[in-house]
């Protein structure tokens, strides 16, 4: 270790160490904590007043629409996670084992691009594509099928969620699959295991941690997204994220929005910890 004694050294070390915690404390942790505090405040005449009442919690938790939104969000995000994981796996498998490294790198680069393009614009494009008289239905009409209602349905919401999450899940799965030792797979083939069985008995267990991490990220993104359910799902019935926006933007009921937000964070933490525990446990067993 380099020497750290002497005045200039200590000043030097602190200069690099403190900017992050100071900034994140002031503008990340404190806002989150303040939100928790705020959930116990009162709103009178459209103004918040410091207090310590559990009224906001009781109110939200006793409302049917809150629980409807809760289970709906959980269900949609869970379903999306399942679909994204299943859809991504063949692609990630192919990227890991069926293309050259250069091709893999370029396709991963292509998959990164969407993260830096406006999600709103893409959702708007889906609105136009999925509309009653949109591109898909017009295409199907020439075949004499349809039209189908896709906009303002759960299907639309899930298309939006997948637009957000699928590239990330493919990337994360590919990263974990391509680290699987090829010689193990060849050994399995050599021992007469079929391709499908090799995937099930060799590749899946080895890549399990990566697959679970991909699924967790997918769940977090879908669970928190408000754009897909709003513009493709028709916002009714609302998800938790839409509930937060409606509660915040109309009516100034920030404390109640905070209750929804905290519920969401607790749910996400629970899911994430459960998933990490699952990934970890399966690793130990081996």
């Amino acid at each position: 270790m380099p020497i750290t004694d002497g005045r200039s050294s200590r000043l030097y070390a602190h200069l690099w160490r403190w900017p992050m915690p100071v900034w994140q404390l002031l503008f990340f942790l404190v806002p989150l904590c303040f939100m928790v505090l705020m959930s116990f405040w009162l709103v009178k005449n459209y103004r918040m007043e410091p207090a310590f009442v559990t009224a906001n919690w009781e109110k939200m938790f006793s409302r049917g629409y809150f629980w409807n939104a809760y289970w709906r969000t959980l269900g949609l995000a869970g379903l999306t996670t399942l679909i994204a994981t299943l859809l991504a796996f063949p692609a990630a498998y192919a990227l890991s084992f069926k293309v050259s490294e250069t091709v893999r790198r370029w396709i991963i680069f292509l998959l990164i691009i969407p993260f830096f393009t406006s999600f709103l614009v893409r959702i708007y494009a889906w609105q136009v594509i999925l509309a009653e008289s949109g591109v898909i239905n017009a295409g199907l009409a020439t075949l004499g099928i349809g039209p189908f209602t896709m906009l303002n349905t759960a299907f639309g919401t899930i298309i939006g969620y997948l637009t957000l999450t699928l590239p990330l899940v493919v990337i994360l799965q590919t990263m974990s699959l391509s680290q699987v030792d090829r010689s193990l797979i060849e050994a399995a083939w050599n021992l007469g295991s079929s391709r499908v069985r090799t995937i099930a008995t060799v590749i899946l267990p080895l890549a399990k941690t990566g697959l679970i991490i991909g699924a967790v990220f997918c769940f977090i993104l879908a669970f928190g997204d408000f754009v897909s359910p709003y513009y493709l799902g028709g916002s009714k019935p609302p998800t938790l994220s839409i509930l937060i926006i409606d509660t915040t933007k109309s009516g100034q009921q920030w404390p109640r929005a905070a209750v929804v937000a905290i519920t969401m964070i607790v749910t996400l933490l629970t899911v994430a910890f459960a998933a990490v525990a699952l990934a970890y446990r399966s690793r130990v067993r081996r």
């Binding site: 900034w23 998959l111 393009t117 591109v135 637009t163 928190g224």
Partner: protein, 270 residues
Amino acid sequence: MHNKTTGRFSTWILRAYIALVLVFVFSPLLASMVFSFNSDRFPSLPLGEFTTHWYKAVWNNDAVPEALRNSVIVSLCSAVLGTFIGFCTAYTDYRYQFRGKALYLGLALLPPTIPLVIMGLAMLAWLSRAGLSGTLFAIIIAHTVMCAPFAMALIRLRLQQIDPNLEAAAWNLGASEWRTMRSVIIPFTRPSIIAALCLTAAVSFDEFAVAWFVSGLNKTVPVVILEILQGNVDPQINAIGTFVFIISITLVVITQLIVMKQNKGHRHGR
């Protein structure tokens, strides 16, 4: 043993599947570009005539120049601040061991896991207490929180490649710690610093949720898009989107080129 023909067949099926995934990912992007030059208000098949009408509409939209100015200011400031904070964190992680370091790194990398709506609400509530909500500062502050982890990750990856004795070698040759930072660490990490600036600028330039919560009247481009979207179907969005896409993609391509060159140089050095 495996039949060679079925093996090759399944390989091609799987490759076609990758293409299908790419089609799903890129179809909304391509569609919005195509629609931006399409005369129909409700584009469908067959496409209408070619037009630059929507671009002209954007050009004449009073909200856009203002929003663009705001977006540029916000993304430049958050990129610089976020990259500075990310650099400090990455260097601290690389160089120092201390108690509570896991917690320290946890704090540094946590923000991207919090849903944007929640981040927006928390920021709005807190910054309006501080009297900052509705200002560009509010957006810059929030975006810096969200950008710093990305900058930290990029710069830390670069520091991973440094010879652990390189700093000590500079001290040994008479450079003070400050001088070493200037003449060794910064030159070494320069590619990743530039990459981090581009990446964080792109992140900030596209971010709409938190910006929408805290911006008030000082809207950025994505917030304007969001508000147009809330109104009615309006192909102006496609025109703005295509324009924003070109800016973002330029930043991302620069980042990617830098990262690839840096990796190549590293492999070369082995």
